[in-house]
Amino acid sequence: MAVAKVLGIETEYGITVPGVPEANPITASSSLINGYLAQLAGRTSWDFVDESPGQDARGFSVDTGGNIELETHLVNAVLTNGARLYVDHAHPEYSSPECRTPREATLYDKAGEEVMRRAMAGVAALNPHGPAIVVYKNNSDRKGNSYGCHENYLMDRQVPFGRIVTELVPFFVTRQIVVGAGKVGSEAPGVSIREVPFQLSQRADFFEEEVGLETTLKRPIINTRDEPHSDSQRFRRLHVILGDANLSEVATWLKLGTTAMVLAMIEDGELEDLGISIVDPVGSLRRLSWDPTLKATVTLADGRTMRGLDVQWAYRERAERWLDRFGGEALGGDDEAHAILEEWTDVLGTLERDPMSLADRLDWVAKWSLVQGYMERHHLDITDARIAALDLQYHDVRPERSLQRRLRMRRLTTDEEVARATTEPPPSTRAYFRGRCLARFPSQVAAANWDSMIFDVGSDPLRRVPMMDPLRGTKELVGTLLESVGSVDELLEALGA
């Protein structure tokens, strides 16, 4: 039986200091996060004891060295909404709290954008005469440098990893036709903008392997990082590095919702006889991305060819059957699961008939509409710098500069909900316990991690509260207790910790 798809998104934001091109991005990222933290009362450091990015799901381990950890120690905070905000390499990164439904995870992803907006304002407030810092929610600088937007999904450890790969790759190769964020030109070596004027995905150019542990070079379609941040006997955390950072709420929701559904289907054995095996997944990923007419096909191991849309339809058919048989509990309930299936169906149908009419729902379509409209109006060539600027500025997080925001695309959230989600945790995962402890006892939380909290209760040794089950520590389970205790001592005593 599929386990609850506890899920979330980590986004590395692009960062610039306009007028200071030589600015150090690590310093700028630190300043940005400090700008945000300065507005908050307290801060808590992240605890690295259980981090092991070198652990491989295929059952071995790679030494990643100490550099990365050292760098990430620069600025690192846990927020009262349960998220983690830190400097990762040369980028500010927001890791959303664990959420219980794709819709909730979409809200907390949007909350990350709001955190970035407040961080920019915080920088300006701290240093009114200094240069501004500007962030972009995209995945490439159009010069061959890419940074990630990673999704995470809780899975049942019992499902053999090899089966996940076989049954997931065709879905991953093709989901970009729905959830790509769009890009002008290509960054694949030797591919000119004449050959690829516009493509569906920000990231397809950067993938070189089908399966692997790397995230920064030789990027794989399926990443094998095996850090469950939970009970490793029961769970795995599927770390997905393939996706684009979406601005569209519908696209974000579909990305999370359809992927979570496919993973639940794999756990329930619904896809074991799907019979779709793509020859050359990496080449196919690019070919599909490079064709916004959606006519490109992939070749299957049995000799058939299918369009990306055909592959998506095949998964959708199975999703309908799976939902009838198993219900939508894995996605947080029947309503959510049916809504996802309905939107997925509608979007695939519209992609068949009139893809450009999805400009109010899908990022790549919205951007492509803007690019084409602007080119026509000013009689520009695709190589014009203004088109490249438009491509970047679609992702500008500043409300007054964001082109995506001007499009007034369909929303699933309200500004009020997003603002609330920057400080309040989701109620239905352990993020609730993490966030509320931080809000109530900020000075006594010595450190926090995804799967534990460490409290400082004064003269005694530090006390560690393990949180190995992502579905414990919810509002339902600990809400009353957390709001009724008067001190950390009382809390720890009640928890038996």
Partner: protein
């Protein structure tokens, strides 16, 4: 075999669905076009002043 039957069935369903919604889709398509035109009217005020320099200076170190 079952697989192929299922694909064919969904193909017919898709066509039926397509007919039903084509009228309403045309209307929303026009509305979208008008909205994009509105944005194009004001886009030059929003786009960075020196596009060439902006694009050139947008350099990121890799991440992840």
């Amino acid at each position: 075999m079952a697989e192929r039957e299922q694909v064919r069935r969904s193909g017919t369903e898709r066509e039926e669905e397509a007919e039903e919604v084509s009228t309403q889709s045309a209307a929303s398509s026009d509305k979208l076009k008008a909205e994009i035109d509105d944005i194009l009217d004001e886009i030059d005020e929003v786009l960075e002043d020196n596009a060439e320099e902006f694009v050139r200076n947008y350099v990121q170190k890799g991440g992840e």
